[in-house]
């Protein structure tokens, strides 16, 4: 079986040699897979970390490689853990897990559709006619399912090798009933193990470096085929979870990266409102399904070209200003930020609460203020759920999690489990001797206000005004 995955070797800066089977090589060579070379893994992170231009392509290879290594490690302990057939399928699912990604990864997928308006109305106002909103863009994993099961170049290659595309799509979406373990959607999964190390290498930041070899060699499956880490590798897994937290704060939620991404979201929404990009989810699905080149061109370049085009638009000055700011790397200025860690679900600070509840009305006054005078559309308010150390179910206490039972499986699904020396599995965050036990009780909140197209002096003036306003409100 080993030789099967040495049909071709690709050299990767993170993992070294990555061996491929004949089918994997053929899948990688399809135009649909090659499209991933045009989608940057970290969206706009390169505006802050210039080398962070790595793509979903190499990440997908890395995820497949780690999947293979973990499965090999499991099979070396007990061959019945994973059959040879499942081994092949799980590697392919890992290879194709990002095949449905949108330009700039998650940016385009999350248009603010305001779809709730279909179902609610303001009291005292007539309901009016039925609001007909187009179908939302499908999430990338749904789009991936369409690509895997319908798009000719991928589908045919799988079928010719007697692999049912539905099998692979179900594995990618976490809907498969018989092939487990869940190695694609959990706290400890192959996706995370690759992106932390790869993002760390390409940004130049050390936080995401994971003790990959030791972790991989110390994984086992429970009787229920849940992945557990041997107790002796506990420090490695704790380090990985903490590394993720720091990578989140320094890269994924970096103030400038986030600012650009907010601006892109505004651009995408404006283009959508003007009918300059795909209008509905049906159109996107059809494009992915059809054997045409449109989907192949649906990568970062698709948005880059639109931004280029509208940066010089004379008709829409607002859109032109946004596009120009992206092109010339002029991020919105951060004028105010509240970043907090609260303990055991204690309430956030008064300042945060005031900002959350009153900003919607207050910023309109600021926008009109004669000393500021900045139109409303140039303000960005972001209330961001920060990175947590571990995904403990929000309503579940640690004491409850400690009573680990099968029925609670879904709520504990994403948590890392340790195999104690006694052989019993235990949820890491419930172990008082783990630093994660304490860290997991910290809930981060992050609130930011940005303004587009201002200089440092204006940002300073606005900051002072916001601080004064918050102080006056706190006294009330």
């Amino acid at each position: 079986m080993e030789d099967e995955f040495r049909h071709k070797i690709i050299i990767d800066p993170v993992h070294g040699d990555i061996g491929l089977s004949k089918l994997e090589t053929e899948l990688i060579d399809t135009p649909t897979f090659q499209r991933l070379k045009g989608i940057k893994q970290l969206g706009f992170a390169h505006t802050v970390y210039p080398s962070a231009r790595h793509t979903r392509f190499e990440h997908s290879l890395g995820v497949m490689h780690i999947m293979g290594r973990i499965l090999e490690s499991l099979r070396s302990k007990d061959k019945s853990y994973v059959s040879e057939d499942d081994f092949r399928k799980l590697r392919i699912a890992a290879l194709l897990h990002d095949i449905g990604h949108y330009p700039y990864s998650h940016l385009m997928e999350r248009i603010d559709w305001d779809s709730a308006q279909k179902y609610i109305s303001k009291k005292g106002q007539s309901e009016g006619g039925e609001t007909s909103l187009p179908k939302e863009y499908p999430k990338h994993d749904k789009l991936g399912e369409i690509v895997i099961t319908k798009r000719k170049d991928i589908k045919e290659k799988l079928e010719r090798n007697k692999i049912d595309p539905l099998d692979i799509a179900a594995l990618v979406r976490g809907q498969h009933q018989s092939i487990i373990p869940n190695l694609l959607n959990a706290s400890l999964d192959v996706d995370r193990l690759d992106y932390l190390v790869r993002d760390s290498l390409n940004t130049g930041l050390p936080y995401g470096k994971v003790d990959l070899n030791y972790l991989v060699n110390n994984l086992e499956l429970t009787d229920e085929k849940e992945l557990v880490v041997r107790a002796k590798a506990r420090s490695s897994i704790e380090h990985m979870l903490m590394g993720r937290y720091f990578m989140f704060n320094t890269v994924y939620m970096h103030k400038t990266v986030f600012a650009f991404e907010e601006m892109i979201r505004k651009i995408v929404l404006t283009l959508w409102e003007k009918g300059k990009i795909y209008r509905s989810g049906e159109e996107i699905e059809e494009m992915a399904r059809a054997d045409s080149d449109d989907f192949l061109a649906f990568d970062d370049g698709y948005l880059d070209k639109l931004i280029d085009k509208y940066a010089s638009s004379k008709k829409d000055k607002q859109l032109a200003a946004l596009c120009k700011a992206v092109k010339l790397r002029k991020p919105p200025k951060l004028v105010y930020e509240i970043s907090e860690l609260t303990w055991d679900n204690s309430p956030p600070s008064e300042k945060y609460t005031i900002l959350r509840t009153k900003w919607g009305a207050k910023f309109k006054e600021f926008a009109k203020d004669t000393e500021i005078k900045i139109p409303e559309e140039r303000w960005i308010f972001s209330d961001i759920k920060g990175a947590e150390f571990e995904k403990l179910h929000p309503f579940m206490s640690l004491a409850e999690a400690r009573e680990f039972s099968e029925s609670k499986g879904p709520e504990l699904r994403e948590l890392v489990k340790i195999k104690e020396r006694s052989g019993k599995p235990k949820i890491l965050v419930t172990d008082k001797s783990s630093v994660l036990h304490y860290m997991s009780r910290l809930k981060p909140t992050l609130c930011r206000i940005y303004v587009i197209g201002i200089d440092d002096a204006s940002a300073g003036r606005i900051r002072t005004k916001i601080e004064r306003w918050l102080k006056s409100e706190e006294k009330i």
């Binding site: 039925e130 539905l166 509840t357």
Partner: protein
């Protein structure tokens, strides 16, 4: 409060979670399953469920409900809104689906779990060779992943019939 959270709050009010008291596991389970079934009637709140060993489950719903519970402590904007009449009518359908059968005896968490699981296995889950499965095949799959239903075939048949009566065996959703 964003519109999605306003909608979620108005929906929770209608399905018995006015105070968002879901600290008990069974209540959280009921909430998960009721929202799953409500979405089938055509009120799409955007929650997508995965099957994880023991049934359909949506972590995003758990997170949003938690955020909402904190939010309503200081933001009552949801009071300015109401569900429109078309949406309200969907709750009649939901009621028809979820109301407990006279026999066999069951509890709300068990009944909701059964309805949601049978639907999920019929329409969403995947296994090799699956091809528009009928009750017998779906029940076999259910027993594999939920052995505690192995001796509940009669109840499962009633649940299947309930789904069928409401068009949810022939169709994945009602819209």
């Amino acid at each position: 409060m964003n519109k999605d959270h306003i909608l979620l709050k108005l929906v929770l009010d209608r399905i018995g979670f006015e105070n968002i008291e879901i600290d008990k596991f069974d209540k959280r389970k009921n909430l998960q399953k009721k929202i799953y079934l409500l979405q089938l009637t055509g009120v799409d709140l955007g929650y997508r469920y995965n099957w994880y060993l023991k049934g359909p489950y949506c972590p995003a719903l758990a997170n949003d409900t938690f955020t909402l519970r904190e939010e309503v402590k200081y933001d009552d904007e949801f009071n300015d809104y109401e569900l429109n009449s078309k949406t309200k009518s969907k709750f009649d359908t939901l009621h028809k689906i979820v109301s407990l059968p006279y026999t066999p005896k069951t509890s709300e968490p068990e009944w909701l779990e059964l309805l949601a699981s049978l639907h999920y296995l019929k329409h969403i889950a995947y296994w090799p060779g699956k091809n528009n499965p009928e009750f017998a095949e779906v029940f076999e799959k259910l027993k594999e992943s939920k052995p505690h239903f192995a001796d509940k075939m009669e109840l499962a048949e009633v649940a299947w019939e309930r789904l069928d009566d409401n068009g949810l065996v022939a169709n994945k959703t009602l819209e």
